[in-house]
C-alpha cells in the first residue's frame, strides 16, 4: 500500500514538472510574435469597468482583439484591486506578449508592474497616470493643464474676468487625474486673482455620492454666503451636475464647469442654465493611437519613443455641444 502511494506520488510529481516545463516554454514574453504561428497573446485589464467609459473600453478592446486575431484575456476589476491584481498576475504567470491597462492608476498596480517586468512583458496604458513612469511602455492620457486652461477660460469669459471672483473648486483626491487638475485649477485661479470659496479645494469623499455631496456643499455655502459664489470648477461632470443643481435651486447666478462630457452634462449645457461647459476627452482616438503602438511592437518589437503622451482635449460649450458624442455613449 505504502509502495503504491509512493509510486503515485512520484508519477504526480513528474507530471507536474512536465506541465510546468511545458507552460514555461510557451510563456514568458517580451518578444513580439510577429513571425510566429502562435496568436498574439494579450492581457487587458481595467479597474473602471463599472464606469461608462471603462465599459466602453472593455468592449472596444475585445472588438479590436477579435478583428486582429489576438488571444485576449480581459480582466475587469470593479475597483477591487485586492481581486484584480492577483488575477492579472496569475495571467502574467501564464505568459503573454503584451499587457493593456485601461484607466487604472499606476499607483494601484505596483504588484502587476513588478510581475510584468519580471516576465519581460511591456504594458501599454491609457489614462493610467498623470506623469511619465517606466512602469509603462507608454501611457497615453489627456493634458490636464489643457483641461484646466480651457475650463477656466470659459469661466473667465462668462464672468468677465476671474480677478476678484469667488470660485469654489471641487475635487476628489483618490482619482489621480481629478486630483492633479483640481490642484492646477486652484493654483491658476489664485494666480488670476480669484478667491477660492471655502479657502481650499473642497473634497468629495466618494465618487458614488459625488453629486449629492457637491449639491450639499454648494447649497450650504450659498446659504452661509448668499450671492457669494461666482462660479464652481469641478473635476468631473457628475459632481458638477450636483453643484449646478444647488446653484439653480438657490436662485443664484454662478456658473459651473465639469469634465467628461457625459450626456447629462451636454444636455445641461444646451439648457443654458448654471452648467456652462465640460471637456471632451478623445478616448476613441487615444485607444487607436495606443493600438498603433501595440501593432508596431507586434510587427517587429518596436517600442514607443516616449513612455508618456498627453493629448489635447475639446472644450464643450453651447457652441459645439450638439456635435459632441457623449463619453457615456461611445461605441
Amino acid at each position: 500500500m505504502r509502495t503504491k502511494f509512493k509510486a503515485l506520488a512520484a508519477v504526480a510529481a513528474a507530471a507536474t514538472l512536465l506541465l510546468a516545463g511545458c507552460s514555461g516554454s510557451s510563456g514568458g514574453g517580451g518578444d513580439a510574435s510577429g513571425g510566429s504561428d502562435e496568436p498574439f497573446k494579450v492581457i487587458a485589464f481595467t479597474s473602471g469597468n463599472q464606469t461608462p467609459v471603462g465599459a466602453w473600453w472593455v468592449k472596444a478592446v475585445e472588438a479590436q482583439a477579435e478583428e486582429l486575431g489576438w488571444d485576449l484575456t480581459m480582466i475587469q476589476g470593479d475597483f477591487d484591486f485586492q481581486k484584480m491584481n492577483p488575477a492579472v498576475e496569475s495571467a502574467i504567470g501564464q505568459g503573454a506578449d503584451v499587457i493593456l491597462d485601461g484607466y487604472t492608476d499606476v499607483a494601484s498596480i505596483g504588484s502587476i508592474v513588478s510581475a510584468a517586468k519580471d516576465a519581460g512583458i511591456p504594458i501599454f496604458a491609457m489614462d493610467s497616470g498623470t506623469e511619465p513612469t517606466d512602469a509603462f511602455a507608454i501611457n497615453i492620457t489627456t493634458d490636464q493643464q489643457g483641461i484646466v486652461d480651457s475650463t477656466l477660460g470659459a469661466l473667465d469669459e462668462s464672468l468677465g474676468g476671474l480677478d476678484g471672483k469667488n470660485i469654489m473648486v471641487i475635487g476628489h483626491d483618490p482619482h489621480a487625474g481629478i486630483r492633479l487638475r483640481a490642484g492646477l485649477a486652484a493654483d491658476d485661479l489664485e494666480a488670476a486673482g480669484a478667491t477660492l470659496a471655502g479657502g481650499e479645494i473642497q473634497k468629495v469623499a466618494s465618487p458614488a455620492t459625488g453629486r449629492t455631496e457637491a449639491l450639499a456643499l454648494v447649497a450650504d455655502y450659498l446659504t452661509a454666503n448668499p450671492g457669494g459664489l461666482d462660479g464652481v470648477w469641478v473635476g468631473w461632470d457628475d459632481a458638477a451636475l450636483g453643484a449646478a443643481q444647488a446653484i439653480t435651486e438657490a436662485g443664484a447666478t454662478g456658473k459651473v464647469t465639469g469634465v467628461d462630457a457625459v450626456s447629462e452634462s451636454i444636455a445641461a449645457i444646451e439648457a443654458q442654465g448654471a452648467f456652462l461647459a465640460t471637456v471632451e476627452q478623445p478616448w476613441p482616438a487615444i485607444l487607436d493611437s495606443l493600438m498603433e503602438h501595440v501593432l508596431a511592437y507586434q510587427e517587429d518589437g518596436t517600442m514607443p519613443d516616449e513612455n508618456f503622451e498627453a493629448v489635447s482635449t475639446t472644450l464643450v460649450t453651447i457652441d459645439n455641444a450638439a456635435d459632441i458624442t457623449p463619453s457615456d455613449k461611445l461605441e
Binding site: 465599459a55 473634497k203 458614488a208 446659504t223
Partner: protein
Amino acid sequence: MTTSRNLGVEDATDVRAVPRRSVGQKLLSSGTVLALVVLILFFFLMRPDVFLSFTNVKNILYQVAILAIIAGAQTIVMVVGDFDLSVAATSALAGAVAASLMISGWPIALAIFAALIVGLLIGLANGLLIAYVNLSAFVATLATLTSVTGLAFMVTEGTTLFNLPPEFNNLGQGKFLEIPLPVFIAIGISAILWFVLRFTTLGRRWYATGGNVEVSRLSGVNVRRARLLAFTVAGFVSAIGGVLLAARLGSASAVQGEDNLLFSVAAVFLGMTIVRSGAANLVGTMVGVAIIGVMSNGLNILGVNAYVQQVVTGLIIIAAVTLSSLKTRER
C-alpha cells in the same frame, strides 16, 4: 387564563414603582438629545446669522429627508433584532427601475408602482432567507446588497439615467409653502411607521420579537412571519426613498445614495439611546437623523474639510454605539 406581556415595549401603563434614576442615569438616557441640542447651540453660536435661519433649516431638512426614510426602514428591521445591509442598494435599484421605465415611455405612476414592487420583492426575499431559511441577517442582506447592486448596474447599463419627466422630478424638487416636498413625504412616512410601531398589534409583535424571540414564540407571536413582514416593509420603504432620491436629483445611477446605509444604521443606534429599554424606535432614529444632518450642514457652513467631517461623524457614531451598549448593560 394567561396574559402575555410584550417585552421591550415602552409600557406607559405599568403600575409597578420604578426606582428613581440618578442625574447621571438621566443624562445618559437623554445623552443623544443633549448631543443634538449642544450641536445646534454650537453651530448657532459660530454662525448666528445663518445657522437657524429659515433657509438653512430648510436645507438641513431637505438634505436629510431621504435619509430619514431609509433610516425608518432600517428602524423596522432593527426593532425585530436584525439589520438590513441592502437598504441603500434597494433604494438605488428602485430609483433606477423607475427612471428606466419612465424613459421607455411608461406612465409615471406605473413606473413608480413597479419600482415600489421591486423594493417590496427584495425585502420579501431578505425576509424569507432570514426568517425561513434561517440565514443570518448579515449574510443574507450582504448577499442581497451585492446582487441588487449588480441588478442596478444592469438596469442603468452602468450609466446615469436622466431626462426624467418634469412631473416626476417635481416630487423631489417641488415645494409647498416654500418647504421641499421630500420633507413632507419623509414626515408622512415617519409618522406612519411610528404609528404602526407604537399603536398596532403588528408593532407590538415586532418589538416582542426583538425583545426576546423565544418568549415571543411561546406567547403566541408568529416570529417568522413578524420578521418576514419587517424585512418586506423595509424593502418597500427603501424603495420609496430611492424613487424620491431619483426625483430629487432628476437622475438615477446604480450607486446613488450609497452612504445612506451607514448613516441609517448610525441614526438608529443613536436613537436607541433615547428610550429606557434601549430598543430601536422611530422618534430616536429621527433624532439620530437630525444629528447627522445638523453636523454635516454645520461643518459645511464652517468650511471644515470633508475628511475631518468624516472623522467627526465616525466619532459620533462610536459615541452613540457606546452609549447604546451602556444602556443595554444598565438593563
